[in-house]
């Protein structure tokens, strides 16, 4: 196991800064906000629509295709990251290589579009 390189120090600082920012922001809001818990304040939409029924309803199963499509295009992003890191070393060949890769995947997106997957349910 080698020692981690110095580049990860910045990533660690960013991670720590993210946690610290969230902790400070939420605790500051908790300190500053008034705590009068009136009936109107505890509603889902304060001075808005009155909610009907539970929020835990069953959504249409067609939404699962969006998640499946997201997984497929996420795998595609992994390849694009490896391409983008060495983009400056590559010739025009590398550009056309990733271009055809994306074109093939866009065919899948076009198929989904034509089949009406992207329609609002």
């Amino acid at each position: 196991m080698s020692t981690p390189s110095i580049g990860y120090l910045y990533a660690a600082i960013l991670l720590a800064a993210g946690f610290v920012f969230v902790i400070i922001a939420t605790s500051l809001a908790n300190l500053l906000a008034p705590h009068d818990r009136t009936k109107e304040k505890l509603q889902t939409y304060e001075s808005g629509e009155t909610p009907i029924g539970s929020a835990r309803v069953q959504y249409p199963l067609g939404f699962y295709i969006f998640a499946l499509l997201f997984v497929a295009f996420d795998v595609d992003i992994v390849f694009i990251i490896a391409w983008a890191i060495i983009f400056k070393q590559l010739s025009l060949f590398g550009f056309f290589e990733i271009f055809f890769f994306i074109v093939v995947l866009v065919l899948g997106l076009v198929y989904a579009w034509r089949k009406g997957v992207t329609r609002w349910i």
Binding site: A67, D74, V75, V78, I81, E97, G108, L109
Partner: protein, 175 residues
């Protein structure tokens, strides 16, 4: 104890803790959120092993996509009854104990007796050149045509992804 070992132990403790939370928490949505933490910690282990590409894959696909898939599956199926008892236990913990003990013993046995357990640092054949991490090396192998490269398998991989997309649409669409 050097810094890498310290970081490893911190990550390992959080990893095992979140894995126990995945199987132990009673609300299955909380289990799925603990699974995200588990995948992120596994990515940290991969970074410590100098396998940055695997770490990227772990974060993007497992922590990003697979847990989204699981959460979508939970959202789209109807959960009846108490929300807090959606991840129930059963009475088979002793079978799990036997299996886990056997698995742990065999892993420890394999790790201590295998000749591959010793890192072969110093032999040049498997080493990357200095200043090149393995994401760059994988990119060079995939995208530059001059050396021994994987251009054709890469393009075929896009076809495999296309088949996966179309298959998901064909199977998943409700007609």
């Amino acid at each position: 104890m050097d810094l890498a070992t310290l970081i490893f132990w911190i990550i390992a403790v959080i990893l095992v803790g979140s894995a126990l939370m995945v199987v132990g928490l009673r609300n299955i949505v909380h289990s799925a959120v603990a699974l995200i933490l588990l995948f992120a910690m596994a990515a940290g282990i991969y970074v410590l092993l100098d396998a940055e590409f695997i770490a990227i894959v772990q974060i993007l696909i497992y922590a990003g996509a697979v847990t989204i898939l699981i959460l979508f599956a939970l959202m789209l199926t109807r959960i009846t009854g108490q929300q807090s008892r959606t991840n129930p236990t059963n009475k088979q913990w002793w079978i799990a104990l036997v299996i886990c003990t056997l698995l742990g013993v065999s892993i420890i046995y394999a790790a201590t007796t295998s000749p591959h357990a010793v890192a072969t640092v110093g032999s040049d054949s498997g080493q990357l050149p200095a200043g090149i991490n393995n994401v760059v090396r994988i990119g060079q192998l995939l995208y530059s045509p001059t050396q021994y490269s994987f251009v054709l398998p890469f393009e075929i991989a896009s076809l495999v992804l296309l088949v996966a997309i179309i298959g998901a649409i064909v199977i998943g669409r409700e007609d």
